[in-house]
């Protein structure tokens, strides 16, 4: 849980600082080597981080549905798909980075037998 919260915080901070693509990747990499079941949790952190911002904006009265409709129309996609893509974007980046990081960690771990990998929830290879 703490890992996810830290992930959410990291993605939010990085996004706020203007690194919307780099932040999920870095957070995913970090989670990959430190958190069990990193890929799933990193994905969840991505969804919560960006989804939370959109939810907060909606609660504040921002016209999220209107933008979704307008921008979706401009890009030729349904408005709901734009929302889904927005949520999936950090999730996919973070999960991919986390998986690869955890895989690398298991291969190059100083501990024997892929201990690090197994301990983080990956199946033995």
């Amino acid at each position: 849980m703490i890992g996810i919260l830290l992930g959410v915080t990291g993605i939010l901070l990085g996004t706020w600082l203007g690194f919307p693509t780099l932040a999920p990747v870095l957070v995913g990499l970090a989670m990959g080597v430190t958190v069990p079941m990193a890929a799933r949790r990193a994905a969840l952190a991505g969804v919560i981080a960006w989804g939370g911002v959109l939810l907060a904006a909606t609660l504040r009265g921002d016209n999220i549905a209107g933008v979704s409709r307008t921008l979706g129309g401009a890009m030729g996609v349904p408005s709901w798909l734009l929302l889904i893509v927005t949520l999936l974007y950090p999730a996919i980046l973070a999960a991919s980075a986390a998986w690869l990081a955890s895989l690398a960690a298991s291969r190059f771990s100083p501990w024997s037998g892929g201990h690090a990998t197994l301990s983080r929830g990956l199946p033995p290879t």
Binding site: D62, V67, G73
Partner: protein
């Protein structure tokens, strides 16, 4: 195996980072686009119900900006420069993308946004010399002058907004294009005015028309088909008549092709695709009524500029108040430091385009046909001014290079291996004061207003109508009209080797078409020929002007001696057509004659029956106007077959006024369709055949009339496209009341009434207005196109122009503050 698949998937997922950061092709960087904190989702934010305090570095004192319920900012400042700073700020806040798109288009720098796809558009602007002209004006402006002060103040305001703008506040379009907003420079305003000149006064087709037509049917016929004066006389400057005058003359038969013209025509660039003779260029209406002809005994003015209808709208509504100096309400063009059309406590004004021929072409002799450096004038070689233009791409790379050459007349160009032509054009030497609108807004009466405009407004020439609270009405076609040597004709290409062929100056003010408080008690302009032909002045040729709307509005004005503001509003969308009134009887007569000849058909009977019952009004539920319009296209096509080039393209189309004149000559050889070799058609044969063909084509395209597909509201629906042409940001299929040649010609292309305004000038000034769009430039905002329904219905909002903030129910209050003074 599962792990391998997952790893591959993860690698692919991570590869998403690339388009996320860099974008792919036209797709913008996804990360920046989808970012919920700083990205496109920021367009969802709405801070209208708020109070803001903003600091603008160059401000000298606090400025209050209060937005009313129609989102119109009322700016209360203590100096004119501060008011303009605030104007720059509010317009940038709502219309930043539009401002940048327009100055980029005007300065030929769209490639920096869109790459090579925008190169042709940029090349056109630069090759016409428009950006170069703006740069010269900018350099010539004294750094201490009031004009410079105002331009810089406006730029300060725009940049104050840009500098404090969070990335989440960037307009959506920047996200889609994957570009960043650029800062504003004073020269951008000059680019915008130059672009406006190109829009309203670029008419190089006059010379081309005459040459190409002469190449086909000889000089005599060309002159008759495209006369210097329109045969329907209802001029802007009243001529004492109580009805229009028709001066139709018999057209001479087609003559032998002019060999010289044929050679020259082959050297000219291809013109844009010709239409069916219905004027599609920018048009406008304005009229004013003296107190003696209004119900309330107060002067009335209606303004209705017909321009390109776009989203965001061309116009932005605003109110500027500087106590004791300025109190002006109306519409500004984003990028212009002034209210362009509007009213004050003393006067109200509006413009229509004069459409005068202010561009001449000169055939030049150059020293080297492939790479000219000098040109010949009066037997001596003169150096060409050479300028290299670099076109940059999105990442600063060069995507094109042009070498531009200029004679003393203007830019030199040619098409392919054609002849070198230089161009003299008033728009390139506009002598436009950047403060002319601000100066005129200080006028206390109609004459002062027009005199002020005459001093500072050179191009594009406008028919400026004005009314004042003292009961005066006036109109003047204001701008530079060339004085040409008596032996030259404005519609012909001149010999550039003789300096004697150059313009000798511009018309003096007393020659301008104008009228002050005419006995008839009203004034009207609708792009008709400004002067009665008896004045013997050249301002353009017949096709440069449009008589139909002028006929209509003058008919309405003559018939009503107790005009009210409500009447003025209703007239702005009057569905009646003088063009239909003129032509329909000829169709009906022709059908009767042909039936008498025993050539009746069921289709002709049906078409005839429909035109007979038509009330000639273009209302959305009407099902007959579409038949008339199709029949007019057919007549045009079948009659002017002599003007078809070998390629099958019609090189030019005489005006519908000329066509009407031809109606009086039933056996003219022009009626014969040379493509039908076995028969010689007369007028009635052509008209009835056109009617049948029109009926058949409509049935093929829309089905039988009874199926409901002929409704004018459907067929004649208009559209208002976004500047980038994005359908999701546009409004399409808008059923309007009005059609070609009516006072509301919205259904013709994407042009139409861009700002409707009616003002009553009495002890107090009352005004009404609207435009097809909304104050916000944000496509996701509720204020982006909220005015379109009202505009479509032909109704206007009441315009509220308070003297101060008292009584102003603001939805947003912004206080713009000067920088803090640090304490010693």
């Amino acid at each position: 195996m599962r792990n391998t698949l997952l790893t591959v998937a993860a690698l692919l997922g991570l590869a998403l980072a690339w388009p996320g950061v860099r974008g792919i092709g036209p797709v913008p960087p996804l990360g920046q686009l989808l970012d919920p904190v700083n990205g496109a989702w920021g367009a969802a934010r709405d801070d209208r119900n708020d109070r803001l305090e903003i600091r603008i570095p160059s401000l000298s004192a606090p400025v209050d900006v209060w937005y009313d319920r129609r989102d119109v900012p009322h700016i209360f400042a203590s100096t004119e420069a501060d008011a303009i700073r605030a104007l720059g700020w509010v317009v940038a806040r709502d219309r930043l993308f539009q401002m940048e798109a327009q100055w980029r288009a005007a300065s030929g720098r769209l490639t920096e946004w869109a790459g090579t796809i925008a190169l042709p558009s940029d090349q056109e602007m630069r090759r016409l010399g428009l950006p170069a002209s703006a740069e010269e004006q900018d350099k010539a402006l004294n750094t201490e002058s009031r004009q410079r002060l105002i331009l810089d103040a406006y730029a300060d305001g725009v940049n104050a907004w840009i500098d404090r703008m969070r990335p989440s506040e960037w307009p959506l379009e920047y996200r889609l294009l994957g570009v960043r907003p650029a800062r504003w420079s004073a020269i951008n305003t000059m680019h915008l005015f130059a672009r406006m000149g190109w829009t309203l006064a670029f008419g190089s087709s006059t010379e081309r028309t005459r040459v190409e037509v002469a190449a086909l049917v000889g000089d005599s016929a060309a002159t008759a088909l495209f006369p210097v004066h329109t045969p329907i006389v209802e001029p802007i400057q009243p001529n004492g008549q109580t009805a229009p005058r028709f001066e139709f003359t018999r057209l001479p038969p087609p003559g032998s092709p002019n060999g010289t013209a044929r050679v020259l025509a082959g050297m000219l660039p291809d013109p844009p695709a010709d239409d069916d003779g219905v004027r599609r260029s920018f048009a406008s209406n304005n009229w004013a009524v003296a107190p003696g002809r209004t119900a309330a005994g107060k002067a009335l003015l209606a303004g209705d500029p017909h321009l390109d209808m776009s989203l965001p709208s061309l116009w932005y509504e605003v109110h500027l108040v500087v106590p004791g100096v300025l109190d002006v309400y109306g519409v500004t063009i984003p990028g212009a430091p002034a209210v362009v059309i509007g009213f004050t406590r003393n006067v109200a004004w509006s413009f229509t385009n004069t459409g005068a021929d202010v561009l001449d072409l000169y055939a030049e002799s150059v020293d080297d046909d492939s790479n000219p450096r000098r040109y010949l004038v009066d037997g001596e070689w003169r150096e060409l001014r050479v300028r290299t233009e670099n076109y940059l791409g999105k990442r600063g790379e060069t995507v094109g290079v042009d070498t531009l050459r200029f004679t003393h007349r203007g830019p030199l160009s040619r098409d392919g291996n054609g002849r070198w032509l230089s161009m003299r054009w008033t728009v390139l030497q506009p002598e436009l004061s950047q403060t002319v609108f601000l100066d005129a807004a200080r006028a206390s009466n109609a004459r002062e207003f027009l005199d002020s405009m005459a001093v500072g407004f050179g191009a594009p020439a406008q028919n400026m109508i004005v009314a004042d609270t003292q009961g005066s009405i006036a109109i003047r076609s204001t701008g530079h009209f060339p004085i040409r040597p008596v032996w030259t004709v404005g519609s012909a290409i001149q010999d550039g080797t003789r300096s004697a062929n150059d313009w000798e100056g511009y018309w003096p003010l007393d020659r301008y078409p104008q009228a002050f408080n005419p006995p008839q008690g009203f004034l009207a302009s609708a792009n008709q020929e400004p002067l009665d032909p008896k004045e013997n002045a050249y301002l353009g040729i017949d096709t440069d002007f449009d008589p139909w709307r002028a006929l209509r509005i003058n008919r309405l004005l003559r018939a009503d001696s107790a005009v009210t503001p409500e009447t003025m509003v209703r007239w702005q969308t009057d569905p009646g057509s003088e063009r239909a009134n003129a032509f329909v009887p000829w169709f009906l007569n022709a059908a009767t004659v042909v039936k008498r000849r025993g050539q009746a058909s069921a289709t002709l009977d049906s078409a005839m029956a429909q035109l007979t019952v038509w009330d000639r009004r273009y209302v959305p539920d009407d099902e007959h106007a579409v038949l008339f319009e199709a029949a007019m296209r057919q007549v045009t096509s079948r009659t002017w077959d002599e003007l078809l080039a070998e390629s099958g393209r019609r090189v030019a189309t005489p005006s519908s006024a000329t066509l009407l004149g031809l109606m009086h000559d039933s056996a003219s050889v022009w009626w014969d369709d040379r493509r039908t070799t076995d028969i010689v058609e007369d007028r009635d044969a052509i008209l009835s055949a056109a009617l049948v063909a029109a009926h058949d084509s409509l049935v093929r395209r829309y089905g039988a009339r009874s199926a409901g597909g002929w409704r004018w509201g459907t067929v004649g629906a208009t559209r208002i496209m976004h500047l980038l042409g994005i359908p999701a940001f546009s409004e399409e299929r808008i059923a309007v009341q009005g059609g070609p040649a009516t006072l509301n010609p919205s259904s013709v292309g994407g042009h139409g009434p861009s700002w409707r305004m009616v003002v009553e000038l009495g002890d107090s000034v009352r005004a009404w207005g609207t435009y097809p769009g909304g104050q916000s430039g944000n496509p996701a905002s509720a204020r982006y196109k909220d005015r379109i329904p009202l505009w479509r219905e032909g109704r206007l909002d009441t315009l509220f122009a308070p003297r101060d903030t008292n009584g102003l129910a603001a939805t947003l209050r912004v206080r713009l503050m000067p920088p803090k003074v640090s304490r010693q």
